[in-house]
């Protein structure tokens, strides 16, 4: 490449205001010039003459530069660069927000059938509470409740009897499992997470069981939570020494208060 061509390219690039494009323009002009020189050499021109002719064919550098400047408009160029950085930054933000943990919650939760097919769910296999408990009663909520787009229901409740012995004295322990379900059509929603620690249960003996832990007893313990985009399930348990009565009522005292009654029926 002669120094003449170098001067010609510099004159062209001086006219291009969008500096980040100058290197690419230089490469393209050089490639074009070199191709032309090689073509001329192929048909018999000597190298020096081929360079002169090729350079002459490139035209007036200022004219070419102005034309290129019109194509490589600075505002368009900067916008393009900004959009490239924008894509990169958005990728970084997405990866930082850890989108993969959400995939876990896409697995559908139970909607029908037995919510405790393997026995008293909160105890692992091999424990006496799990292996020796007998389901003596079952029930479902007598009604559903509609609030702010959610449907609250009790699709499953059961009472388990577990025979125990302490100091040579045999006694029975009763475990009640209550599953509260909340359905909605807002896949982006996480369900009414705040209510699980505010629910109360009451039975016909006027015993009140609260989700706020009380060492003295009478606890309605929130033990498990499952959710998919359209349904949230909260599992609660009550442990007591007296057999449950005929019914249990789950209630929420805030806003527009509601309650759902479960009538126990003998488990088959």
């Amino acid at each position: 490449m002669t120094c003449h061509f170098g001067d010609w390219v510099s004159a062209v690039l001086d006219c291009v205001r969008f500096r980040p494009d100058r290197r690419a323009i230089r490469r393209e002009l050089e490639a074009h010039y070199e191709d032309h020189v090689k073509d001329l050499e192929r048909i018999g021109y000597d190298h020096k003459l081929a360079q002169e002719r090729a350079l002459g064919a490139m035209g007036d550098p200022v004219e070419v530069g102005r034309t290129l400047d019109k194509v490589h408009k600075p505002w368009l160029g900067w916008l393009w660069l900004a959009s490239k950085w924008g894509v990169l930054i958005c990728w970084v933000f997405l990866l930082l927000s850890d989108p993969f943990w959400r995939l876990d919650s896409l697995r559908p939760v139970r909607r029908t059938g037995d919510y405790e097919p393997d026995g008293l769910f909160s105890f692992s296999a091999g424990t006496p509470e799990r292996d020796d408990s007998i389901r003596i009663a079952r029930g479902t909520g007598a009604q559903t409740v509609e609030r702010v787009g959610y449907t609250v229901s009790v699709p499953y409740a059961a009472v388990w009897k577990c025979a125990k012995e302490s100091g040579g004295t045999a006694y029975d322990e009763y475990w009640s499992t209550v599953v509260v379900a909340v359905d909605d059509h807002r896949f982006w929603d996480h369900g009414p997470k705040g209510i699980w620690r505010e629910l109360e249960a009451a039975d016909e003996h006027a015993c009140v069981y609260r989700t706020q832990w009380d060492p003295a007893g009478g606890n309605f313990i929130w033990v498990r939570f499952d959710a998919d985009p359209f349904r949230a399930l909260a599992y609660f348990q009550i442990c007591q020494l007296e057999p449950p009565g005929e019914w249990l009522e789950i209630s929420y005292p805030y806003g527009e208060p509601w309650s759902i009654r479960i009538d126990w029926r003998e488990a088959s």
Binding site: L76, W80, G86, P99, R147, V148, H190, K193, G194, I195
Partner: protein
């Protein structure tokens, strides 16, 4: 054959569309965080099955944690619907917004008292109350744990009642300031106990000492509170009795 090539304008458009898609995916991955008070109210409504929440108090704080690159922004909301009052907070760190600790802060029917930033806020329907006085009683209760013998010994100290004049902030809200906003209760140096403010008493008077190990902590206690509401003539309208956690007063 040359492949399809986009010109610069088309590339910009493509990149902007990719940005939009990625931003939407990020927003979804973050759990659709609420950035505005309106958004926070809607989120609170859905979290607690409430409707038509009305803000009574909105307080914002910026916290510069030394171990975090960016500031943390906390928005405290005291809201009401019908006869339910909620005090909750949302914490924003960079793009993520999370509701308050333990999923909720405080919720009450008919009235609610919550502490934040050196003030006790009392929300409720007191239309005729022109003024209010709050009395909070703290009683020095120190616990000594003997781990070897599994014993806890309690030593009671003197009780002190702190009295505060309320300032009406709105139709359903009184504010009682019990310490300066930056009156952090720890690092008390040689201040005599008689000069403690309520925040200091709530922290210092409920210490738990683990004997032998030198470990200390602050145990939980519910402090009795009495609020007396007065009408414009200075006559007593009503008296409210409830308790407040000592943790609320200094955390």
């Amino acid at each position: 054959m040359r492949g399809f090539r986009l010109n610069r304008k088309q590339k910009i458009l493509r990149n902007l569309l990719v940005c939009l898609l990625l931003a939407a995916a990020t927003y979804a991955a973050l759990g659709f965080p609420p950035y505005t008070v309106r958004g926070m109210l809607e989120r609170t409504e859905r979290r607690y099955l409430l409707s038509d929440l009305e803000p009574l108090l909105v307080k914002r704080e910026r916290i510069d944690y030394s171990n975090k690159l960016l500031d943390t922004h906390e928005t405290y909301l005291l809201v009401k619907t019908e006869n339910t009052y909620i005090f909750t907070k949302y914490t924003r760190h960079f793009l993520a917004v999370k509701p308050g600790y333990g999923d909720k802060l405080k919720m009450g029917r008919d009235f609610l008292c919550a502490a934040q930033g050196g003030c006790l806020y009392l929300a409720g329907k007191f239309p005729d109350a022109a003024s209010a006085i709050m009395q909070v009683t703290a009683e020095k209760t120190e616990r000594y744990c003997d781990k070897d013998r599994n014993l806890i010994r309690t030593e009671q100290g003197p009780a002190r009642t702190f009295t505060y004049q309320g300032e009406r902030l709105g139709e359903e809200l009184f504010e009682f300031r019990y310490m300066e906003e930056d009156g952090f209760p720890w690092a008390l140096s040689d201040l005599p106990e008689s000069e403690y403010h309520l925040g200091q008493a709530a922290y210092e008077w409920y210490s738990t000492y683990v004997e032998g190990s030198g470990g200390t902590g602050v145990h939980h206690a519910d402090l009795p509170v009495t609020v007396t509401l007065y009408d414009g003539k200075g006559e007593v309208l009503d008296t409210l009795d409830f308790t407040i956690s000592n943790y609320e007063l200094f955390l």
